[in-house]
Amino acid sequence: MAEVGKIRIKLPQSIKKGEVIPVRALIIHPMETGLRKDKDGKPIPAYYINDVKVYYGDELITSMEWTIAVSADPFMTFYVKADKAAPLKIVYKDNKGGIFEESVQINPQ
């Protein structure tokens, strides 16, 4: 569990200015539903990411609400119009107050 919150963001290798590019992002997180029980029959408490925000430079471009039905180690792909050189930052928050973030630089040619 030591890895919880580890994030990997992947951009295309070369980006042209104005191009709409896919952003692939993975975060390590158990996404426990709260509906499962451990082997002693005790319920495992819900532990999941419920809020995701994506910033491009200073601009909040996408925000998501997630429930327990997003798979463990959530992996997503969304798109960004690469019209400026700026960092792309993703901030994940979970129901236990955990905050995890990672940035990558977008440098359109």
């Binding site: 709409v20 039905a69 798979s71 960004v80």
Partner: protein
Amino acid sequence: MKQKEESVELSRRQFIKTTIAASTSFLIAGSLPSLVKKAFSETPVEEKIDDVLKRHFGNRKIETAHVDLKAPIIAENGAVVPITVVSDLPMEKDNYVKKIYIYSEGNLQPYVASAELSPANGKAELALRIKMRKTSNVRAVLETNTGKLYQGLKSVKVTIGGCGG
């Protein structure tokens, strides 16, 4: 006489219904203690897709168009079902897809996730891996900045359910 029989029949049916409902809630309340009771007050433990849609969109009309939902026909593992929501709708300054909602209709709580987009996304597309409890429809609803609603559905056969418990 016939009328009387009918009413007896009806009340018996009703009796069975109420008994089942009562015993089910007993089971739920009895077997899972405080945790569930607490959850009860916040979100319902079980919700039907129609109720979720009503909660999210009221009685607004949802047109089945402009949404291409990509999902596997058969998902061997319901815990990880990759889906992609694609739309041909524009992402321009004053004309864009504002929100994407994703539902897995066979889950106890069908609402999976939603994403608020902006023209800076350049494209109304989102891929996510979701959990599916059983064979059912996956549904995506898109809301435009002008308040129009569009949806797409796809049936996914789930071999092993993915919600546990």
